[in-house]
């Protein structure tokens, strides 16, 4: 009896200590993450403007959806949720995210498999492959903008010289190729990150499983599908979630690389435009809030789907 209460005491003490250790982190997170988020959500329900940040009044859901009756009796709907420009941006963002994350995962895993093999100079290759990831996005976006330039760009020059193109393509200017250009640059830039995360996952797989498979004479492709992929899956999932979060809020690359046209405008670009360029701070806040909600939905959906699959495997 005495012992038991002492244990409880110890437990409570530990919890308190843990709390003290966590407190600075929680406070910092509150200040830099929770507070700005809550402010943005609050602003989205007001009519705040950037010239008068503290003078906004509560207007409810009007920035999201608003029903207005004209004097003729015609009813019109207003707000972000019926704004075609917003839905175009959502579509652009989702399309960009899904395509870029898909290719980055495939290429990243491929590179990780290569790097996981034993060969001479592996350390060097591992370091070298990280270079695109280490270059700041603005710098690489500018660099690629020059490389993709229709008049002076090296890519057009090479393609024209080897006879694939007759005349240079305006990669970033034309609405047909602008998104492709953004995807190429993003995949180039972020594949190393995926490769690194996949490599970390691969190295956690015990070697003896492969040895057993080798002794049984299993085909290497089957080894990949039945051993490597299932075992690397948890690491891959984390990597994909990270990338998805990142891709859904893409801003800098698109802002620098392409003209501000509807072919590449993403959710972040359009909400920034409303927040700052136009006198619609509250409307932009509503779009930022929706962006947050969409990211949250994506992440929970992904985690939920991932869990279902994992438990299904456990039953086999």
């Amino acid at each position: 009896m005495f012992n038991f209460s002492k244990e409880l005491d110890l437990e409570a003490q530990r919890r308190r200590a843990a709390f003290y250790f966590l407190a600075p982190m929680i406070i910092a997170l509150f200040c830099v993450a929770a507070w700005p988020l809550l402010r943005t959500i609050y602003f989205s329900f007001t009519d705040t403007s950037l010239t008068n940040l503290y003078g906004g009044e509560w207007i409810g859901f009007d920035n999201y959806l608003q029903r207005r009756e004209l004097s003729s009796g015609r009813v019109i709907w207003r707000g972000t949720l019926v704004d075609p420009a917003w839905w175009n941006a959502v579509w652009n963002t989702v399309r960009f995210s899904v395509i870029s994350v898909f290719f980055e995962t495939v290429f990243g895993l491929g590179i990780a498999l290569v790097l996981n093999a034993e060969f001479r100079g592996r350390g060097w290759v591992r370091a070298a492959i990280l270079i695109p990831w280490a270059i700041p996005t603005i710098v690489s976006a500018k660099m690629w903008a020059w490389m993709l330039n229709d008049q002076f760009g090296i890519i057009n020059d090479i393609l024209v010289r080897i006879g694939i193109l007759e005349r240079g393509i305006a990669w970033t200017a034309s609405i047909d190729t602008a998104m492709t250009a953004v995807l190429i640059v993003d995949i180039w830039k972020t594949t190393p990150f995926m490769a690194l995360l996949c490599l970390a996952g691969l190295q956690m797989i015990p070697r003896d499983i492969y040895e057993a498979a080798k002794i049984d004479g299993v085909h290497p492709l089957k080894v990949f599908w039945k051993i490597t992929l299932p075992l690397v899956r948890p690491a891959l999932m984390v990597a994909v979630i990270f990338r998805m979060l990142d891709a859904l809020r893409i801003f800098d690359l698109i802002y620098v690389l392409t003209p501000n046209s509807k072919a590449t405008k993403t959710m972040s670009v359009i909400s920034r435009e409303n927040l700052i360029d136009f006198d619609k701070f509250a409307y932009g806040s509503a779009q930022s809030t929706l962006l947050f909600a969409i990211i949250a939905i994506f992440v929970s959906l992904y985690i939920w789907l991932g869990k279902v699959n994992l438990s299904g495997e456990g039953n086999q």
Partner: protein, 425 residues
Amino acid sequence: MKSLKLISIRSFLATLILSIGGSMASAAELKYVSGAVGNAIEVFQTLVKPWEEATGHTVTLVPMPASTTDQFGQYRLWLAAGNADIDLYQTDVIWAPQLADQFIDLTEHAQDLSPLHFPSIIESQTVDGKLVALPIFTDAPALYYRKDLLEKHGQPVPSTWEQLTEVAQIVQDAERSEGNDDIWGFVWQGNAYEGLTCDALEWVKSFGGGQIVEPDGTISINNPQAIAALELASTWPGTISPPGVLAYQEEEARGVWQTGNAVFMRNWPYAYSLGNGDDSAVKGLFEVTTLPTGGGHDTSAATLGGWNVAVSKYSENQEAAISLARYLAGPEAQKTRTLVASNLPTIISLYEDADIAREQPIIPRWKDVFLQAVPRPSAPTKVKYNEVSAKFWSAVHNTLSGDGSAAENLELLEFELEELKGSGW
């Protein structure tokens, strides 16, 4: 003796503190923020040197991206946050109504100076009786043309857009058949940003299609002349203009032009002195003229640009900042700026200045161009101007890139602007 010594030490300390305090107040370190187009940074340093020597203050230029849309976004944020780091802002002619609350009223401080300037420019910087910024130079674009190439192929300087399209095509084809593969007929600013609003406003206005939103606030953009203007312009990318023109701003257009790869260019006066620089491939080979007209209309149009200097309400060195603003807007600095950078002065008398007429002969000729310049609809649309402009340039950019016809896009634009206007601007 001891007390005397003490007193003298005290008084010495007092004078020391006073003198330090005094010199700190008199030698301010100002921060001036401005977009950096062409050689703007070098020009600025030459320009402020006499002022720095005369006053003992120093000023540092904080360079910003060339795109005025990008600059505006950053300034807006800084001003909303009450940033005290920047004392003076170089502001675009269209910003005054949107940023008026954040700048100090210069009416009193420029009482003697403002009558020297063109009244229309001072008026454009006055919001509800408050002089928001002082003009430092004005801008009106021109048509740059390669006189050597036109002569070589026996072509006239075009006076209409239709003629320009034709001449550009002829010269481009002839040059290419002679092996000059990189040549293009016409370069301009087609990126989706404020610059496209300027270019497209010129096409529309010179076709007799109005100025998007008229001074009384009526939305006039959806009309047959405007549609004809955009239809003609949409034939350019890929034929006489590089397809990449849809991503060009001023500097990209100048890049193609100054390397000798364009017959015509639409650009602001700053490109004149740069094009005649020693490192330019077109030095001495080009001339400028007024922009063409079109659609049977007889007057051409040049969008009124121009830059001004405003003093931040949050500046801690307002006195020195006002002094610098007055200096930059004054005759001495404007003359130097005209001589070194071929910027157009806003002081009327400088158009008759002998030095300027000798060094920059295009400037006196510009007075008439500029007097007929068309303003962007920033005055009638007030704080909604940026959105109006963004909707206009998007409609134009879509038309140019083949996403919908001119008629469809302008009809949609009219509807969107009506919606934006609501019961009034």
